[in-house]
Amino acid sequence: MSDAIDSLYRDVVLDHYRHPRGKKKLDKVDFRNSGKNPPCGDEIEVELQLDHDTVKDLSVSCSGCAISVASGSMLYEVIKGKSIEEVRKIARVVKAMLKGEPYITDGIDFGDLDVLEGVKKFPVRIKCALLSWTTLVDAIDRAQSGNNSGMSTTE
């Protein structure tokens, strides 16, 4: 195996893929969004429980390839408990990281997210890693504009 492939499928990624976190039922759902990559068939469902400007809890359930599942699982771990402002910042950083653009982490806790950096060498897979993030940010946009469910895509 090449180094590139091992940096795509890092152990942490594989662990998240095999044991995705955040696939759970929330007792109360404030906002919900689902996302889809029609060309690959990846699908994700995000549910949010908000406490003012904080993501108190969320559920993420993803069907798709290792990259999209792992990305959703890591999203769950990092986002839970963060403020909406922080969530937006993190999402921007992830997007920049995946596209190989410069970014600053600004002292925020990124958990395992840096392992996604390996994806940028595989342009076709960037969409896989992005799907959960696009879906989350769209959910928040809708939440803030009072529109409580929808459908996103990275196409």
């Binding site: 690959c40 068939g41 798709g64 897979r125």
Partner: protein, 419 residues
């Protein structure tokens, strides 16, 4: 029906064939390239590559009515390609061979130029559940534009068409039946003779999507009696950007043109135009001349191998691949398991590893397969899937290639922590 594994001509030697395809010398991630994405596009023999170079270095010119030497030679090459196609598909008239960009455009041409004027609200268009988007979406769009309805010949869980209710599905309101000859996902070879007959019994036309069959088996368009047949050069050793629509002369003659412009006209004034004779009526603008010039040696190559032998070779390889893949418990093969009823496009899923991840790891072992819905989303949904992995063969593939595929599939499972 093909019964024995080794009846085909000794002259057909995939190893020496491989030598004619320069790209197969390439190494991918340190391994020899095992190219198994032939249903998407095939590789090109040196004669095709050389014909392209020769066109551009010797006689590149625009065609038709050019009186200088280069223009005459370029025109001759274009029309020679047309004659070669006409002969290859069963000896049709050159008037019936229209060059397009590919199978997709061929089908769109029919949906626009024939469909728009012959299909009305309440009419029916019959397709099958296994169509490629190219033979599905143009008809969905035509149905939307005209108010016609779509009806589908269903498939069973083994990937065969169910023909029980054929005469019901092809109702008297049916105007066209558009069916793939060979599925690009399931591999199924459909009984198109029966379907064409059923269509004609209702005075409906029959369009055959031969994108997957024409490259892989003998197809005699004339004896089939199909009204339209569509296929692409790039899937049969030829260049990208050129394909064919065959149409029966009497039907083409009555049709409106599709694209309008130079070369397809008779006389033009500022408010009226009439059309050139067949086939040029359907070829507006500068065609892919280099593409045509390089299509000829592709057909020559296949002719020389013999399409019967091509089919026999792939039959043997398909049988072997199904045998080997069936030994892997985690793998589920889509479509017929009997190689007599299918071509060499074998789609499958692994119960643990997603097709995209499979394909990514296989690439590490030099093995090129496709992963996704293969432009057949509704079929995948019908099979309870969103995507699959697909290995597909051509003349240069060997048992060794199948072995490498199976080896790499095992490695991929291991990589993701499965036994």
């Amino acid at each position: 029906m093909i019964t024995s594994r080794s009846t085909y001509r000794q002259g057909f030697d995939p190893v020496s064939i491989k030598a004619d395809f320069p790209i197969l010398n390439r190494e991918i991630n340190g391994r020899r390239l095992v190219y198994l994405d032939n249903a998407a596009t095939t590789q090109k023999p040196i004669t095709v590559i050389e014909a392209t170079r020769r066109f551009y270095t010797r006689y590149n010119a625009n065609v038709h009515r050019g009186l200088h030497t280069l223009a005459e030679e370029a025109t001759a090459a274009l029309e020679a390609a047309r004659r070669e196609v006409a002969a290859f598909i069963g000896g049709v008239k050159t008037e019936e061979v229209i060059f397009t960009r590919g199978a997709t455009e061929s089908i769109n041409l029919v949906a626009y130029a024939w469909g728009q004027h012959n299909v009305k609200a309440g009419d029916r268009i019959v397709l099958t559940q296994m169509e490629h988007h190219a033979n599905l979406v143009p008809w969905i769009a035509l149905a939307k534009r005209t108010g016609a309805e779509l009806a589908y010949i269903p498939i069973d869980d083994n990937g065969y068409l169910v023909l029980d209710r054929l005469s019901e599905i092809i109702s008297s309101k049916t105007k066209i039946v558009a069916v793939t000859h060979m599925s690009n996902v399931l591999g199924t070879i459909n009984p198109i003779e029966t379907i064409i007959e059923a269509a004609h019994a209702r005075r409906a036309l029959a369009l055959i999507d031969a994108a997957q069959s024409m490259p892989h088996m003998p197809v005699d368009v004339r004896s089939l009696g199909a009204d339209f047949v569509a296929f692409s050069a790039h899937k049969m050793l030829g260049p990208t950007g050129i394909g064919v629509l065959y149409g029966k002369e009497s039907i083409l003659a009555d049709m409106e043109p599709f694209n309008y412009g130079g070369e397809m006209i008779g006389e033009v004034t500022y408010d009226h135009a009439d059309w050139a004779s067949l086939p040029w009526k359907f070829e507006a603008g500068t065609p892919n001349i280099a593409g045509a010039a390089a299509f000829t040696p592709a057909l020559d190559y296949l002719e020389k191998l013999g399409m019967d032998n091509v089919r026999r070779h792939e039959h043997e390889l398909t049988e072997y691949a199904i045998e080997r893949l069936s030994l892997l418990d985690s793998i589920r093969i889509l479509g017929p398991l009997n190689a007599d009823h299918r071509g060499g496009a074998i789609s499958f899923v692994d119960k643990d590893v997603h097709p995209h991840d499979l394909s990514q790891i296989l690439d590490q072992h030099g093995v090129a397969i496709r992963a996704g819905h293969h432009c057949a989303q509704p079929l995948h949904r019908r099979l309870g899937l969103v995507s699959s992995a697909r290995a597909s063969f051509y003349v240069y593939n060997t048992r060794g290639d199948v072995d490498q595929l199976v080896y790499a599939l095992k490695e991929a499972r291991g990589y993701f922590g499965h036994e």
